[in-house]
Symmetry: C2
Subunit: 308 residues, 2 copies
């Protein structure tokens, strides 16, 4: 046994953190097999906040005294359950909301101005002397933002530069420069483009229901840069196929990685592999907060960015 | 012969104008065969300004007294030659520069944030539990605008919203809120992203030369929403293949439609079929100016938007 605290990385896509963490900690990787021999040493779990946390595992780690989310979101974690066990949770807020908003605008442009479809058309020889694609101008389109947090507000600011008319809805009124719709359905009904930018938790699973998608309608574009569970994904697929919904551009999915066959026959769709917040700058910011939270925790100092 | 003036539409992709023009004019379509029987009646040519104008044809149309470009650009037309013949040229300025700028940002986001590549990755099953793509943040990237006209300035304003640092170059100094580089090479050298947004004419063919692309370099992104002839396209292809240039996103090409095989083995590339300015709103605006110019011309009124 060593004097260095032991930490366990849960998700395989967080493997690049391993060499950095090893500078200060004994690092175990869950996908290499459950750390049975180190079960009594592990003090912290390093997790992606969107992944469901295995409570059974936590109960088998008696020395565990920190859950450190690499991400800003922590929707996979039952915060109340952790609080009852006296188990603090940290995360990485405020480091990538601008990048997520950039990506949301990228998805709007890719879908509305047919950039992904246009690239496919040019490469397949579908651009001929007879064809000239006309795409809709963004000017004057009505953008509805679901959830006016840091990401939602950053999306709204960008949308104004693109001459869109912005409104928003969230469960609680707040001071904002854009008007709040009376309800989510009213927002969808009034919007050409709906961007989902809210925090996901157990209370708002399936928030973007079939009814909301119907209100958005056959010319509407749904953009999701929040979490897959916020959307009734089966309804979304049905409605894209039938034309009841115009377009969708998704960075997040019910299951990640999402199964390609699920989307093969679905038209008017842009898909990205959960990259909205995973930028060089964002990842550096998240890494810095992770290291600061771990260091503070093991030095018995106040945590840098705990989940309140 | 009829009392209505005869007009000749030159390019096949302008065919949708035909029914609208027929409300007031006798309309001939060049691709249906040269209008030999109407050669003495045709008063106006309706053209796409980027297509090279056939001077021989003009000399065979004795009644011709107007060249009406449907587009804003008129780089296919030898304005001096027309002026010498007393042949006025009209175009459609100021109706789609905001849409072109939107598309330029869409191309930057599609390339830098890997939206086109990400869509391909998700659909092909390339997104797995082991992979997590990290893309570069736009924040702090240095954007160089080549040509600070209406489009260039609109690109610059949008880029600031995305936290990019803007500078520009054009042959003539002008009052602007962004700094002007000493030369095009200096701009390319200092830029992460170079957006070509200048007017094309015979003086600037091949302006974006191999040397300029080399200055932009292996991490650089070239975006072209102006005209294909502005770029040494063969050098661009070589340099993308060798990695001497990082990425390109092109809406315009040396020849249009461009041959897909030309781009098949070229990496780090986003292609769209000259759609930047072809929006619903842009096309409506162009159509309105075209009709106003024709009407003014045939009523002996001052032209609405002549090329000066």
């Amino acid at each position: 046994m060593t004097q260095r605290p032991a930490v366990l990385i849960m998700q395989r896509h967080l493997a690049p953190l391993s060499p950095i963490l090893q500078s200060a900690y004994d690092v175990y990787r869950f996908w290499e097999g459950p750390p049975i021999e180190a079960a009594h040493d592990i003090r912290a779990l390093i997790v992606a906040g969107e992944a469901p946390l295995d409570k059974g595992l936590i109960e088998r780690l008696p020395a565990l005294d920190l859950i450190a989310c690499f991400t800003s979101g922590y929707d996979g974690i039952d915060i109340d359950w952790c609080r009852q066990r006296g188990l603090p949770v940290t995360h990485a807020p405020g480091v990538n909301h601008e990048d997520v908003a950039d990506h949301a605008l990228g998805l709007i442009l890719a879908a509305r101005r047919q950039i992904v479809a246009g690239d496919r058309q040019v490469r397949s020889g579908g651009w001929t002397a007879e064809t000239r694609s006309i795409t809709p101008s963004l000017g004057g389109q009505k953008l509805g933002v679901v959830g006016l947090g840091a990401i939602g507000a950053a999306v709204a600011r960008r949308a104004e530069t693109f001459r869109m008319d912005v409104s928003w809805w969230g469960p609680r009124p707040k001071a904002a420069e854009w008007p709040r719709a009376d309800s989510l359905s009213a927002l969808a009904e009034a919007s050409d483009i709906l961007v989902v930018a809210c925090k996901a938790d157990e209370t708002n699973r399936g928030l973007i229901s079939r009814e909301v998608l119907q209100a958005l309608g056959p010319d509407g574009l749904l953009v999701n840069v929040a979490r897959g569970q916020l959307i009734d994904e089966d309804a979304l697929i049905d409605m894209l196929k039938s034309g009841a919904l115009g377009q969708a551009a998704l960075d997040v999915f019910m299951e990640e990685p999402t199964e390609p066959s699920r989307w093969a026959d679905v038209p008017n769709l842009v898909l990205t592999p959960h990259t909205a917040g995973a930028t060089t700058a964002g990842v550096q910011g998240m890494l810095m907060l992770l290291m600061q939270n771990l260091q503070a925790h093991f030095a018995d100092q106040p945590l840098k960015t705990p989940v309140e």
